[in-house]
C-alpha cells in the first residue's frame, strides 16, 4: 500500500493526478497497463502448460494405440488426468468472447463440451453397433477433419471431440454406482482376442481426438503469444482500461457464479444424478472444481506457476484495501472449500452434501464481491 501511495501523493501535491487511487476517478491506462500485461502473461503461460500436457497426452495415446496393453491404457489415463489440471485453470479466460469462446472460431465447444453423446461416438450398453467408430460404411476415414466437421454438423455442436470424448474412449461408460468407467484395454486390441468391434478404428478415433485437442490448444497459445503484434493479446492490451478490467472480472465472475457454483455444482446437487458431473467417466470432477477455483485466484493475484506481477488485487487495494483483502480471503476460502470436497464428486453430492454446499456458498459470496469490485471501477457487470 505505502509503496503505491507515495507516488500518488506526490502527484496530488503536484496538482495533477492521472493515476491517483481516488475511488471517484476512472481507471487510468497507467495503472491498468501493468495489470493487463501480467494478465496476458499468465494466460499465455497457462495455455502453454495446457498445450504441453495435451502433447504428453497425445504421445501417451499414440504409444497405447501402437501397442495396446493395460500399462499403456493406464499411462494414457494418467496423462489425461494431468492435462485436466492446467486446462481447468484456463476456464477463467472464458465468458468474454476471447480466443477460447468467441462466437466465430473459439474452440471451446470442440475442446471441452459436455455432456458427451456417447452413442454418437462408440458402442454403449445394449447398442454394440452404435457410433461413428462402428460405422465404417458411413465414415470410412477417421481423422481430425472428420471430428471437426461432425462436431459442428447441423449448425449446432454435436459433441464428438475434446477432453470428454477422449475421457470416454479411455474409461468407457460409467454405469456403475461406485468407481469410474471400466473400459478394458482390449477394446483396442485388434489381434483377434480383443473386446468390442472395430478396435483399430477406435484407436484411430482416440488418436485423432488427441491431435485435434493439441491443435485447438495451439490456436490459443498463438492468440496469447507475447511475441506477436497482431493477435488477440495485442488487441486486448490496446483496449480502454475499463474494458480490459471488465473482461477480467467478467471471466472471474461468470466462472465463479453461473458456471462453477451454478451449472457445475448446484445442478448436480439438485438433480442428485450420479453422472450429472463433468468428468463422469473418470470420476475426476472434484479436480475440475478445484482447478476452476484456482484459476480465479490466479487472475486475482496476477500469478501462475513461477510468474507473478501486477494484479487486480493491487488495483483494488489502491482504492479500497478492505475490499481487496476481503475478496482475497473469500477466494482462498472457495479454493479451500473446493479442496475439501471428498472424491468422488458423484458420491459427495449424495453423502457429503454439506461440503459441496459450502463450496457453492463460498463461490456465491465471492461473486457478490466481484460485482462490488466492478462497481468500484464504475463497470457495469451483470452476473448471476
Amino acid at each position: 500500500m505505502s509503496r503505491r501511495l507515495l507516488p500518488a501523493l506526490v502527484l496530488l501535491i503536484a496538482g495533477c493526478a492521472p493515476s491517483a487511487p481516488d475511488p471517484d476517478q476512472p481507471l487510468t491506462a497507467e495503472e491498468v497497463a501493468p495489470v493487463a500485461e501480467q494478465y496476458a502473461t499468465l494466460v499465455a503461460a497457462n495455455y502453454a502448460d495446457a498445450h504441453a500436457s495435451a502433447l504428453e497426452l497425445r504421445d501417451a495415446i499414440a504409444n497405447f494405440v501402437a501397442a495396446p496393453g493395460e500399462a499403456g491404457l493406464e499411462a494414457a489415463r494418467l496423462a489425461w488426468l494431468d492435462a485436466r489440471e492446467s486446462y481447468g485453470q484456463t476456464e477463467v479466460f472464458r465468458f468474454y468472447d476471447g480466443p477460447i469462446d468467441n462466437p466465430d472460431d473459439g474452440p471451446e465447444g470442440q475442446l471441452n463440451a459436455w455432456p458427451m453423446d456417447e452413442a454418437y461416438v462408440d458402442y454403449v450398453e445394449g447398442m454394440p453397433d452404435a457410433g461413428i467408430i462402428n460405422d465404417p460404411a458411413g465414415h470410412p476415414t477417421i481423422d481430425t477433419e472428420l471430428l471437426s466437421s461432425l462436431n459442428e454438423q447441423g449448425g449446432e455442436t454435436n459433441i464428438s471431440s475434446g477432453y470428454h470424448a477422449i475421457e470416454f474412449l479411455l474409461w468407457g461408460q460409467d454405469r456403475s454406482a461406485d468407481g469410474p468407467g471400466a473400459r478394458p484395454w482390449t477394446d483396442y486390441d485388434s489381434s483377434g482376442a480383443g473386446t468390442a468391434a472395430n478396435q483399430d478404428r477406435r484407436g484411430t478415433y482416440l488418436l485423432a481426438a488427441a491431435e485435434l485437442l493439441v491443435a485447438d490448444l495451439q490456436q490459443l497459445v498463438d492468440a496469447w503469444d507475447g511475441a506477436s503484434s497482431s493477435n488477440y493479446r495485442a488487441m486486448l492490451l490496446d483496449e480502454q482500461p475499463e474494458e480490459i478490467v471488465r473482461r477480467m472480472l467478467l471471466g472471474m465472475g461468470s466462472l465463479s457464479g453461473a458456471e462453477l457454483a451454478g451449472e457445475r455444482i448446484e445442478v448436480a446437487l439438485a438433480t442428485r444424478d450420479q453422472e450429472d458431473e463433468h468428468s463422469c467417466f473418470s470420476d475426476n470432477t472434484h479436480r475440475d472444481v478445484v482447478s476452476n477455483a484456482l484459476g480465479i485466484q490466479n487472475v486475482y493475484l496476477g500469478r501462475y506457476g513461477s510468474s507473478s506481477g501486477a494484479s487486480l488485487y493491487e488495483l483494488i487495494a489502491a482504492r479500497d484495501q478492505a475490499l481487496a483483502d476481503r475478496l482475497a480471503d473469500q477466494i482462498q476460502a472457495s479454493v479451500d472449500a473446493a479442496e475439501a470436497i471428498p472424491a468422488p464428486f458423484d458420491r459427495a453430492i449424495v453423502d457429503d452434501r454439506e461440503a459441496v454446499e459450502a463450496t457453492v456458498e463460498a463461490l456465491r459470496t465471492q461473486t457478490d464481491s466481484i460485482v462490488e469490485v466492478a462497481a468500484l471501477f464504475a463497470i457495469t457487470l451483470a452476473l448471476e
Partner: protein
C-alpha cells in the same frame, strides 16, 4: 443512466431543433425498465441470458438447473448421463438453446444449403383434433423433424425460397420485401397429405415470459374487441386452447398463434416436438404410426424429463430478465415513440401493462412492464397469412408479439430478421409487411417522410 442534468440538456437540445410549437417530449416514469424490477442493464451479447435482477434467492438453484437443461445437449439413450439422455428419435435440435441461442431469436436459413435450425415447420391437415387443435398430418405429425438418431430416418428437410417484391414509400424512396415459399424435400416417410397445411416459425426470444404469464386474464380480455365494437378497424381476439393438465379450454398466451396456455405446457410441448423428450405432459414418444423404427428406438426413461426438471425449466423460462431500454431520452427516440402512438401501432402493441399476482413468484408479481403486446390475435392480412388454423386462430391471424428486446437481436443473435418466419430483413420491412387490421398503421408509415421514418425505427431499436 439518466441524470437530471442529462435530461435537461436533452430537452433544451430538442427545443433548439425546433419543437417550440410542440409539447416537450420526455420519457414516462419507468419507461426504460421494460421488465419492471426484473430489468437488467446489459445491452451486449448476454442481454437475454440473465436472471431477473430481483430474483428471490430461493429461486437461484432452480434457475441454474433450468439454465443447464435449457443449454446443454440431450444425448442418445442409453448414456452415462442418465438425466440427459433420450434425444429424438426424430428431432429438430439437441437442446433448447440450439434454437433459442443465447436465449434469443431464431432465424430462417441464410441459404438453401444451410439446415433449418432455429426455425421449424408446423404441419396439419384440415379439421380439428378432439380438443379443437390442429389435426396432425397422418405420417409426419404436427411438425417436421429434420434430424434423427442413427437408425431412424429423418422426416425431411425444409428449404425457403425467396421472391423480391419491390415497392416505394410515399416520398418515392424504394424498398423491397422478400416473400418466402416453403419447400419440403427428402421426405423420409412418403408423400405428405395432398391437403397438408404448413407454417414456418422462428424461435422467439425467451425474455420476460414469466411477466406475461403474470398478466391477469381480465387485463388481456379488457383489450379484446372481437367484433370491433369501437369501430377502429382492430379486433383483437383471445385464443382459447387446450390445457392438458386441467383438461379444459383456457386462454392462450404463448406461441406465434397464442396456442399454448402457460409456460409449463409450452416447454413440455417444445421438448416433445423439437427435441423428442417425453414428460408427464407429453408421455409418449413423438412417432406417428407409420414410423416403426422411431417407435422401436431406446427410450431415455419414462418420462425422459421428470417433473422436477420440467418445473426447473419452467422457472428458468419465467425468470429471464428483460433488458433495459437504451436512449429513452434521446429526442429522436421520443419523436419515434409519438409516431408509434399516432400511427396506431400502440393499439395492439400495448406499451404499458401491470402484472398481477403469480403465486410463488414475487419477482414477477405487481410489476409495471413495457412489453408492447396485447397477447391477442389479429387479422394480419393475406400476405402474412399461413392459412393454417390453430385452435380459434384462423389462417390470417397472429398473436401480437411482444416487442421488448427487438433492438438487441443484432447484438445477441447476429441478425436483424423479424416476423414469424424471419422474412423481414430489418424493422422497416417488418412494419411494411403488416396488413389486415394493421394496414392503416402500415400505410401511415409509408406516408411518413424520411426523418419521421428514421425516428420511428430509432424508437423500435431502443426497445
Amino acid at each position: 443512466m439518466t441524470t437530471p442534468r442529462h435530461t435537461a440538456r436533452t430537452i433544451a437540445l430538442a427545443c433548439l431543433l425546433g419543437c417550440s410549437d410542440e409539447p416537450q417530449l420526455a420519457p414516462e416514469p419507468g419507461e426504460a425498465l421494460s421488465g419492471g424490477e426484473t430489468t437488467v442493464f446489459e445491452s451486449g451479447a448476454r442481454a437475454f441470458m440473465l436472471s431477473a435482477r430481483n430474483l428471490d434467492p430461493a429461486h437461484q438453484r432452480e434457475f441454474f438447473v433450468g439454465n443447464s437443461f435449457f443449454n446443454k445437449n440431450w444425448v442418445i439413450a442409453p448414456s452415462s448421463t442418465t438425466a440427459r439422455d433420450g434425444l429424438g428419435p426424430t428431432f429438430n435440435a439437441r437442446s433448447c438453446s440450439a434454437c433459442h441461442f443465447k436465449d434469443g431469436r431464431g432465424r430462417p436459413p441464410l441459404d438453401a444449403d444451410e439446415p433449418m435450425l432455429s426455425m421449424l415447420v408446423r404441419l396439419s391437415v384440415p379439421g380439428v383434433d378432439a380438443h379443437g387443435g390442429p389435426l396432425p398430418e397422418p405420417n409426419y405429425g404436427g411438425q417436421l423433424q429434420p434430424d434423427a438418431i442413427p437408425g431412424v430416418a429423418p422426416e425431411g428437410r425444409a428449404v425457403v425460397h425467396w421472391q423480391e417484391l419491390p415497392g416505394s414509400y410515399a416520398d418515392g424512396e424504394p424498398f423491397s420485401l422478400r416473400r418466402p415459399t416453403l419447400e419440403l424435400l427428402e421426405l423420409g416417410y412418403g408423400p405428405l397429405a395432398d391437403d397438408v397445411l404448413t407454417s414456418a416459425r422462428v424461435a422467439p426470444q425467451m425474455i420476460g415470459l414469466g411477466l406475461l404469464e403474470a398478466l391477469p386474464e381480465p387485463t388481456i380480455l379488457a383489450l379484446a374487441d372481437p367484433d370491433d365494437v369501437d369501430g377502429d378497424g382492430i379486433s383483437g381476439r383471445p385464443n382459447y386452447v387446450w390445457d392438458s393438465v386441467t383438461q379444459s379450454t383456457v386462454l392462450g398466451r404463448y406461441g406465434w398463434k397464442a396456442n399454448q396456455p402457460g409456460l409449463r405446457q409450452q416447454n413440455a410441448g417444445a421438448f416433445h416436438g423439437d427435441i423428442g423428450i417425453t414428460s408427464s405432459l407429453s408421455p409418449s414418444e413423438n412417432c406417428p404410426a407409420s414410423q416403426t423404427a422411431c417407435a422401436a428406438a431406446e427410450s431415455g426413461g419414462a418420462p425422459e424429463l421428470d417433473d422436477a426438471l420440467l418445473d426447473a425449466i419452467t422457472s428458468y423460462s419465467r425468470l429471464l430478465a428483460v433488458p433495459a431500454r437504451r436512449d429513452v431520452d434521446d429526442p429522436e427516440v421520443l419523436r419515434g415513440r409519438e409516431l408509434f402512438r399516432e400511427l396506431g401501432c400502440a393499439d395492439c402493441h400495448i406499451p404499458r401493462l401491470e402484472t398481477g399476482e403469480l403465486p410463488g413468484f414475487p419477482e414477477l408479481s405487481r410489476q409495471v412492464i413495457w412489453p408492447y403486446t396485447d397477447l391477442l390475435l389479429h387479422d394480419m392480412g393475406e400476405e402474412l397469412a399461413d392459412g393454417r388454423p390453430d385452435f380459434e386462430a384462423d389462417g390470417r391471424e397472429w398473436r401480437t408479439p411482444p416487442l421488448w428486446g427487438i433492438g438487441l437481436f443484432a447484438v445477441v443473435n447476429d441478425h436483424s430478421l423479424y416476423l414469424h418466419d424471419g422474412r423481414a430483413r430489418n424493422l422497416a420491412e417488418a412494419v411494411l409487411w403488416h396488413g389486415g387490421e394493421a394496414r392503416q398503421a402500415r400505410d401511415g408509415f409509408v406516408e411518413l417522410d424520411a426523418d419521421d421514418r428514421a425516428a420511428l425505427l430509432r424508437f423500435l431499436e431502443s426497445l
